[in-house]
């Protein structure tokens, strides 16, 4: 069972829900093998709440071309073909901008002289930690690398390789509605959309719902930092037949606990109850317990 934790707006509490849900399920349902994957590779924070022993780590790379001056005849086919402006043909040389390259391989395959050689470029790291009974897999992008998508893809491939399909996969997704989010929620069984009841949160939730509907994904909403203003989200969800899975109150004491990098599954019984309800609602929905 793969559950993505997503939100349109940043800072609504995706990571909070993801780490606490993982910790709670692991504590209350010992039979479930919980795998938490941090796909917010630009700013991965799940690991701040769950430390543990590293069981595996690897450097993640993708292929980009390297220009071999000695073989090049300056025919310009490579730069003509590149749709990403990653190859510039200058009078005396071919200039490759690896950060613009999408690794489509067209230039390298089409060069008649084999003057563009694929080389590996580091785009990030993947770390798999074992923390108690939870497996935490984190992708972390190299600073300055513009596209998170290839790293998210590779992190998800690792999940397929390393774990049994019967595990509960909780995917902590990046914020927003663009390509990194699309890649993160691809082929998940369910999306928990974390929304906050401010006009910003509401506005971005509506965009996120539109996106999930286009992708035809099953989803429900968790209202985080709930309090005044909930009615807007509640009414919207009712009118549009969107399921609200649960709410977590807006409290400074919760924000303080989170700021320390500590979990909410002790000392906050209401949060615990809410997470429990959310988990049961989702697993019932997917006919798994």
């Amino acid at each position: 069972m793969k559950i993505a934790i997503a939100s349109g707006k940043g800072g609504t509490g995706k990571t909070t829900i993801a780490v606490n849900l993982a910790a709670l399920v692991s504590r209350e349902f010992p039979d479930v093998n919980v795998v938490l994957a941090d796909l917010d590779v630009e700013e991965p924070n799940s690991g701040l709440f769950l430390d543990g022993q590293i069981v595996h780590s690897e450097v993640i790379t993708r292929y980009v071309p390297r220009w071999e001056n000695s073989k090049c005849t300056h025919c310009g086919k490579c730069s003509e073909h590149c749709k990403f402006n990653a190859i510039l043909r200058l009078p005396e040389q071919i200039l490759v901008s690896p950060e613009l390259c999408h690794s489509c391989f067209a230039c390298m395959d089409l060069c008649p002289e084999n003057a563009l050689i694929p080389i590996r470029r580091k785009i990030g790291t993947l770390v798999h930690r074992k923390t108690g009974e939870i497996d935490l897999v984190e992708g972390r992008i190299e600073i300055g690398e513009p596209s998170a998508v290839p790293l998210i893809k590779k992190t998800k491939e690792y999940l397929e390789r390393a774990f049994h399909g019967s595990s509960l996969f909780i995917l902590d997704c990046p914020p927003g509605n663009s390509c990194p989010v699309m890649e993160s929620v691809r082929e998940v069984d369910y999306v928990i959309l974390v929304a906050e009841p401010t006009p910003f949160g509401f506005h971005d939730m509506k965009i996120a719902i539109e996106t999930l509907e286009v992708l035809q994904l099953d989803f429900g909403v968790v209202i985080n930092k709930s309090g005044t203003g909930d009615h807007q989200i509640r009414e919207y969800c009712m009118n549009n037949k969107v399921r609200v899975l649960g709410s977590i109150k807006n409290k400074k004491s919760i924000a303080e606990r989170i700021s320390k990098g500590e979990l909410l599954i002790t000392g906050f019984p209401a949060v615990q109850r809410a997470l429990n309800t959310i988990y049961l609602a989702v697993s019932n929905r997917l006919h798994v317990t």
Partner: protein
Amino acid sequence: MKEIVVISGKGGTGKTSIAAAFSQIEGSGMLVADCDVDAANMHVLLEETICQSIDFYSGYHASIDAGKCIQCSKCRAVCHFGAISESFQVDKMTCEGCGYCSFVCPQQAITLHEAYSGQVFLSRTRFDSMLVHARLEIAGENSGKLVTEVKDRARELASAFDCDLILYDGSPGIGCPVIASLTRASIIVMVTEPSVSGYNDMVRLYKLITRFHIPCAIILNKSDLNESHRKKIVRFSVVNEIPILGEIPYDPLFTEALMQRKTILEVSQNGISGSVNTIWNRLKSMII
């Protein structure tokens, strides 16, 4: 022209609330541009009148003409993104628009067409300033290019109307939209909060910023949330010689103001609006 970029690494630290307050102080003298094209929020608070909307196209998508296709599979063999299905349909979400498939197709059955990626809006706020914002198409690509488009439009408008100050509200993260929003800035302001995540994300963001050789400053929001992390941020600012423009304590008024779709200055008569004003004056004095 001076350009201020407000950014945070972590989401939800209060970027937009603070930027909106700056916009209120400066009024028509400063153009505001929302570079968070995934989840633009500035217009929600500044209640804009949209004067013009412009369609934005960026990149390509391939499509296969079933009438011409002989199902030779050459396209599928070269596509590194797995975007072409066994029934020779192109998945728009996975297609990166590289055009390799159309190049190898012996039947010329594959054409590339420009991808609709969203809209840019030129607007006026209720504080009488110009506002440029955008909406990325659902599942849209090239958010970095849309940010660049927003910035180009903002500069164009600003110079046309003789406005020499632009404030950009950035997006969370450190990826392509953020990189696009940092270029050519006069100063970068990091809005952070004293929490493990806030600190961690600020440090990663700062590593990115140092590549641009642009002056930078910090606003410490929710400053009384966690004293030990507050000290860590202060220490970081001293070690890296980044001025802290000011601190704003955790205050439910921020949320209350949002609920009423007002800026923090419109609901607070107390210390917060004073701090925000002081921070804005310090920030301006750094660039003017």
